[in-house]
Structures are given as C-alpha cells and as structure tokens.
Amino acid sequence: GESVGLHLPTLSVQEGDNSIINCAYSNSASDYFIWYKQESGKGPQFIIDIRSNMDKRQGQRVTVLLNKTVKHLSLQIAATQPGDSAVYFCAELSNTNAGKSTFGDGTTLTVKP
C-alpha cells in the first residue's frame, strides 16, 4: 500500500541532499494549498502553491505533491542549501473563505554544511 509521510517537527539534512517535508491537512473541502518558509524574526514567505485539482506542481528546486485521498501534502527541496534552513508551514484555503489560511504545524529544517 501507499505510505503516508509522518509530520516531523524537525528535519536535519546535509547540504546538497534532497529534503522532504510532510504535512497532513484536515479539511477535505480545501481548494488551495500553499507552502511557506519562515526565517527567524520574519513573517512567512510564499514558496509554492497547488490547487486541489492537481497532484503535483514544480517550481525552482521545489516540488509540491498533493494526495487528496489521505489529505497529505509534501514539499520536496532539491539540492538543499544552508539558506534553506528555516521553519516550513503548509496552509490550506477554501474558495469560500476568501483567502483565510489555516496553517499546519511547522517543520524546522536545518541544513548542515
């Protein structure tokens, strides 16, 4: 069967490795999902988004996968760099809530040089 990634509050990877950050969301009616990166002392910064009618979307060095069956979202970062060290949050929205985001638990990514 398909494995579902567990949400881990912390993730440590070696520079150059790929990172996978997981998120479980709660609302099956959510239309839209966003990954944010938050560095210390700053507000969340948009990384990549995906609509609920998609299962994969790629950006620059990042890929988001959406599995609606198990309500799971993942963020893959290729060739992780020290500048990627931050807390990562997933957020879900629905069209009926006009952009009001519900954030998941964050994952702290630490990249070791």
Partner: protein
C-alpha cells in the same frame, strides 16, 4: 516595491494596559489579514478585511480584541486590558484581489509582563 510593514516591531506592555499594533499593507492590495503566532506554532487567523469592512472576524479570541481599517489601507489591531496570554507575534498579511498568495509583514512581537 515596498512590502507589508508593521509597527512597532516589538512592544512590551504591562498586564491590563491597552495596545495598538499597526499594519501598512502593500499598495493596491484590497484584502488584509491579521494572524497571531505563538512560539513554535503556525500562524492562527484572527480577522480579515476586504476593503474597509471586516469580512470575517471569527478568529478574534474575545471582545478585548478589535481591529479597524477605516480607509481600506492601513489597519490597526487593538487589544484592551492585555493579559500575559496575549504575548505572541502578531502578523499582518495582504493580498491582491483574486489571488491567494498572501504577503506577510515581519510581525510585531508583543510581550505582556
């Protein structure tokens, strides 16, 4: 162009005092959001404005919290009779009409002693 700005960046106040937190959104963004973020957690929705009116204030924890946006641009979050449990980072975000990507400010760190 300029991003979302929030003032003050830090605010220390005594229990029972009144505080105002200010948010300057990106020019032209019609929607404005307030979130509260406690240490180690994701942002939690408080209130959302579309133009001058509060379209959704369901996240305000109690009637000590109030927010205004009189001219559809700058917003002020007001907290009366502050309590130690109000200590958190208060984040503001704005977004363009018909878009879901929220642009966050750096936040105001409120400490109630």
């Amino acid at each position: 162009g300029a991003g979302v700005s929030q003032t003050p960046s830090n605010k220390v106040t005594e229990k029972g005092k009144y505080v105002e937190l200010r948010c300057d959104p990106i020019s032209g963004h019609t929607a404005l959001y307030w979130y509260r973020q406690s240490l180690g957690q994701g942002p939690e929705f408080l209130i959302y404005f579309q133009g001058t009116g509060a379209a959704d204030d369901s996240g305000l924890p109690n009637d000590r919290f109030f927010a205004v946006r009189p001219e559809g641009s700058v917003s002020t979050l007001k907290i009366q009779r502050t309590e130690r449990g109000d200590s958190a980072v208060y984040l503001c975000a704005s977004l363009r009409r018909a878009k879901y990507e929220q642009y966050f400010g750096p936040g105001t760190r409120l400490t109630v002693t």
